[in-house]
């Protein structure tokens, strides 16, 4: 009998030892967990601070990085009077614009200019496509920088040069525009244009379709709403609609696959 008591006690103490062991292990786990939580908190805080400062940098980043081109004498002889005219009239004539765009491209590079056009189209407060960008390109009282953008874009209305420029620069543009940026800025426009194009293609009587659209747009002042349709009409007139459709499709696919 007495032996039984001793054995039972030994076993009981053994289980207590086991319990003690696991409870210390648990304590260790809790400690590690707290450290992990703390680390998480710090990381989260750091991330918030980093995001905040990156945001702020964007908001305050609307500055000017002064540039200087070493103009040759003949270039200066053309650009100086052009810019004098611009001072007084606020307008650049087409020949002037072409000459100036040419000089800036030579200094800036085609890819640099493309980046700058994309950069001009972004609203940095909301990280969306600047709603006024397209309109301001054609506005009479637009900034010189926007005029330069338009002059630059005008160079690619020819379908052949558009295709060539796309082939030349797509690698660079694709690699510098991450998917998230594409989604924030361009995806909606691209998708709308593509679906509008398909809608137009599905029409039996395209002329009547466009007549209707233009009638509605003119009478109700809804040009903005029908922009995605009239856009293709203008491309058709410029004969670059097919090339552009192919390019937009390629862009869409590139970012969908990614």
């Amino acid at each position: 009998m007495k032996k039984a008591v001793v054995i039972l006690l030994v076993f009981a103490l053994g289980s207590l030892g086991v319990a003690y062991y696991f409870s210390t292990e648990s304590l260790k786990l809790i400690k590690r967990k707290q450290e992990g939580d703390h680390l998480n908190e710090v990381l989260l805080e750091n991330k918030m601070i980093a995001d905040e400062s990156a945001r702020e940098e964007l908001l305050n980043g609307n500055t000017i990085i002064y540039q200087s081109i070493d103009l040759t004498k003949p270039e200066y002889a053309i650009i100086n009077p052009c810019m004098k005219d611009f001072q007084t009239s606020g307008k650049l004539d087409v020949l002037c614009l072409n000459e100036i765009v040419e000089v800036v491209i030579n200094d800036f590079g085609e890819e640099g200019f493309i980046m700058a056009v994309i950069g001009s189209s972004i609203d940095y407060n909301n990280l969306t496509l600047a709603p006024t960008f397209l309109g301001s390109l054609f506005s009479d009282r637009t900034s010189l920088a926007n005029s330069l953008c338009l002059g630059f874009l005008n160079r690619y209305r020819n379908p052949h040069s558009l295709q060539q420029a796309f082939n030349r620069c797509k690698e660079h543009v694709f690699s510098s525009v991450p998917k998230s940026l594409y989604q924030d800025i361009f995806e909606k426009q691209v998708d709308e244009l593509l679906s509008a194009h398909e809608e137009i293609m599905g029409q039996n009587n395209k002329e009547a379709f466009f007549e209707d659209i233009y009638f509605k747009a003119d009478t109700q002042y809804l040009h903005a709403q029908y922009w995605k349709y009239t856009f293709w009409k203008r491309r058709e007139i410029e004969k670059n609609d097919k090339v552009l459709y192919a390019i937009l499709t390629q862009i869409k696919n590139h970012y969908n696959v990614q």
């Binding site: 008591v5 009981a12 207590l16 648990s26 980043g61 609307n62 002064y66 991450p178 940026l181």
Partner: protein, 319 residues
């Protein structure tokens, strides 16, 4: 002391008490009671052990999932950061475009603060002078430029020593960012052109090979131009005094013993430097420049060749 430690020590004491009771008592009933108590105690202890064990297992599983969460955070962070960096990238290009805008507007404003255009013109002026190197026009320009030529009176200003300081002054101290006014204006342009040409000569003097052989070669190849374009009248008015002084000083110095030793010294004060060959002699010149001129020629090891050339010039223009 944690709860576990309290429980464990209490249990150990409890066991010792039971063992004590067991040892002291002989009655069977107590022993039986003790067996039951020990059994209950074992049951409680095992239950406690089991609960601690399962709690430990649960924690382990739960925390493992959360720990993976810790690893995921930096990834998310990176992608958002990447997006913002991409935005920043485009914003900077946009800012550069605005920089071009400001530059172009500056060009239209005709205030000649468009430094770059001025630099272009200056480079062109210097390049055109360089392309004419050692030809007729070249020597005409170079020989006249340090003497201020007045187109109205067709007279040269700044003769002799005064002209010697023009090139180093422009080269070292002139600020090319200063406003030259509208360069379409003839007078402004002439001044700017002259400054640019002086700049060219300054650069040329700094870079030219000053070895005795090269100086002799350069002189022998070009002296016909110089004799042709530099009239005796001009020489007498603009250079004669300097040439005569230089020759006189060289003759006097080299007639003094240890002159090479003296001019081999570095960092001597003006007092000592002008005490050679004698204070009276150095003071008889308006400028101390001829002495330092020869000092530099001795250092460059071309003094005798330069002396020979000067002597030749002097003889050429002698009546």
């Amino acid at each position: 002391m944690t709860l576990v430690q309290i429980i464990c020590s209490a249990s150990v004491i409890f066991c010792l008490l039971i063992l004590l009771l067991l040892a002291l008592s002989n009655r069977k009933s107590i022993t039986v009671t003790l067996v039951v108590v020990a059994g209950l105690f074992l049951a409680a202890a095992s239950f406690y052990a089991y609960s601690e064990y399962s709690a430990y297992q649960n924690r382990k599983e739960r925390y493992a999932i959360q720990e993976m969460g810790v690893l995921e955070v930096p990834d998310e962070n990176a992608s958002l950061e990447k997006e913002l960096i991409a935005f920043k990238h485009f914003q900077e290009y946009h800012n550069v475009l605005k920089g071009y805008e400001v530059f172009l507007v500056d060009i239209g404003m005709n205030v000649m603060n468009d430094v770059s255009y001025k630099n272009t013109i200056r480079d062109e002026i210097m390049a055109s002078l360089e392309s004419q190197e050692y030809g007729e026009t070249y020597w005409n320009t170079v020989l006249n430029i340090t003497f201020d030529y007045d187109r109205n009176t067709t007279a040269f200003q700044r003769s002799n020593y005064a002209s010697l300081y023009v090139v180093p002054t422009v080269y070292e101290y002139h600020d090319f960012d200063e406003n030259y006014g509208d360069l379409n204006d003839v007078e402004n342009y002439a001044f700017f052109e002259r400054m640019s040409q002086l700049m060219y000569i300054g650069q040329k003097l700094k870079s030219v090979d000053r070895s005795a052989e090269h100086i002799s070669k350069l002189w022998n190849h070009n002296k016909p131009y110089i004799y042709t374009f530099f009239s005796k009248k001009k020489y007498d008015k603009l250079c004669q005094q300097v040439v005569d002084d230089l020759i006189d000083v060289y003759d006097t110095i080299t007639a003094t013993p240890n002159y090479l030793e003296f001019y081999g010294m570095y960092d001597v004060s003006d007092d000592i430097f002008l005490n050679f060959p004698s204070l009276e002699y150095t003071r008889s010149f308006k400028y101390s420049w001829p002495f330092s001129f020869w000092d530099r020629r001795f250092t460059e090891n071309n003094a005798s060749e330069v002396y020979g050339i000067l002597k030749e010039v002097q003889n050429h223009y002698k009546d």
